[in-house]
Amino acid sequence: MFVLIELIGIDKEYRAKDRIVTALQHINLTVEKGEIFGVIGRSGAGKSTLLRCVNLLERPTNGKVLVGGQDLTSLKEGELQKERKRIGMIFQHFNLLSTATVEQNIAFPLKLSKLPKKEIAAKVASLLELVGLSQHRKQYPSQLSGGQKQRVGIARALASDPDILLCDEATSALDPQTTESILELLKDINTKLGITILLITHEMGVIRAICDRVAVMDQGEIVEVGDVLDVFLKPQHEVSRQFVSEVADSIDSSAFYNGAGSGGRILRIIFRGEQTYEPVLYETVKETGATFAILQGTVSRMKDTPYGQLVVELRGSDADVDAVVGGLCSRGLEVSVLR
């Protein structure tokens, strides 16, 4: 795997009037080429600051920012401006030129790069096509819906053929349906154009819908990093657990089962990938003399990976129950005994 973005030992302090606000502390983060990496955290956790450090809109107090192996913090202004063209960015409030039409907005970065008019026109036309706004090209931002504005923002960010797209709460100002369509578009951009995406959000739903890996932030620090499915199924940090529990079909495996069932052994079984749709549990139990009752369960998708979680109570002799647990493990399922 090729590391595209590397943050090394980043600290960021803001000097307010009489005190110092520490927005980021000891941040180490790597984003691999081609992945969609999400950063989640509560408001004020430092997500925006982190994202803005990647293109040096915000200069870190300490640490290095490597993009494609190059340390951006060491560049002169002119060189940095050139590098920034390879890093697109979209914003929660879109930040479009209100005095420019849709197509002028998309052409804007190309105009800054002084591309010939003909090339700009061709490029803009294909970007309009990509984001589905060809009919709206003569309209002004004030005439567009939030979702359309974000599409313009995305097209504009893609105009200079970046390797990286930074998304600062790109869907936080949008309704759920529009959010879904914008996330779908981002996923397409990632797979079809191979653009690496680093996004920040406070919504677990966004992470689950499109991210491959996630970092959880709290008070300026990264408290947990991992594959989204791992963090989702087995959150290690309290803040991660809170985010996971906000998603409707998450399973609360703590106190809930203490009084449930009839005294048998309670297992939590995790299915991943295609196995989710196989009758693994039934076949395993069938081989023994045990039976089972389902206490709770979900089957869902994390980005494109199906997964399932079941909480079951096994009934039967200890030997039979042990055999079931062994059988499930040998079939590659993750099993944990809750009681």
């Binding site: 293109n55 809109l57 920034r84 960015m89 930040n95 030129l97 209100s98 005095t99 800054l112 504009r156």
Partner: protein, 263 residues
């Protein structure tokens, strides 16, 4: 000249009366007017004594002083306003000392009454254009008075520009100059047009005071002839001309703002 005005008034009033109904018929009105016996006729003949050539000369002088000084004010004031904005707190070229010094100079110039300023900078005026009197001599003090005023309006207009848009441009790799030109000035354009309108109107009223140094123009005429020589007729007409001028400037400014507004 007098006759033309009379006919003009006559024609439009006639229409008005006809619209209103049958108060007077056309011929009757015409007769009374020309005989100068009716109230209206007397009102119009009140302005018989006015030297219209002088009136139009003064109008041209006012327009010239305003136009030329406005042009220089826009060029210099825009530059000063942009620098004020950029060196201001939290901006791209944030610099406490520069901002403080510029601010102080601007405030000082703005706190001096125009009449005093005009006299104070006479040596400078003379140095710049060879004379410190007349229509030409009025231009430097007008510019010096209007530039700080306009610059503050420019600064305020630029502050209205959404910060996020500047950041988006910065993230695209725009240079500072590109951000000023393609983002700030572009996005602030309606505010800037409004600022030019206000400045133009302020300049019109400043030109009136330039009469003191023989600057000429409508305001000067109103003061010398109208006020000092008790020519109320001249006073009324110059004020009417100034009113029309200000009204036209404001309407033109508003129309441009409307035309360029995308909100």
């Amino acid at each position: 000249m007098n006759g033309i005005l009379l006919n003009l008034l006559n024609g439009s009033l006639l229409n008005g009366f006809q619209l209103n109904g049958t108060l007077l018929n056309g011929t009757l009105l015409n007769d009374t007017l020309l005989n100068g016996k009716s109230l209206l006729g007397r009102m119009i003949s009140y302005f018989d004594e006015i030297n219209w050539d002088l009136m139009f000369k003064a109008t041209r002088e006012t327009l010239y002083m305003m136009g030329v000084s406005l042009l220089f004010t826009i060029i210099l004031g825009l530059a000063l306003g942009i620098i004020l904005f950029l060196t201001g707190p939290g901006q791209m070229l944030q610099n406490k000392i520069s901002y403080f010094v510029l601010s102080l100079v601007v405030n000082m110039l703005r706190s001096v009454p125009f009449v005093i300023l005009m006299i104070l900078i006479m040596p400078l005026t003379k140095m710049l254009i060879g004379t410190s009197i007349g229509v030409q001599g009025a231009i430097p003090p007008l510019v010096v008075a209007a530039v700080p005023f306009f610059a503050r309006l420019v600064e305020a207009a630029l502050r209205e520009v959404d910060r996020g848009v500047q950041e988006a441009a910065q993230a695209m790799g725009a240079t500072k100059w590109q951000i000023v030109w393609h983002v700030l000035l572009r996005e602030a354009r309606t505010g800037l047009i409004a600022a030019v309108t206000i400045t133009a109107i302020t300049l019109v009223s400043y030109t009136a005071m330039s009469g003191i140094i023989g600057g000429g123009g409508l305001g000067d005429l109103a003061q010398r002839l109208g006020y000092q020589r008790f020519r109320t007729d001249v006073m009324i007409v110059t004020v009417a001309f100034l009113l029309v001028l200000v009204q036209v400037l404001q309407m033109a400014g508003d129309a441009l703002v409307k035309h360029f507004s995308r909100k």
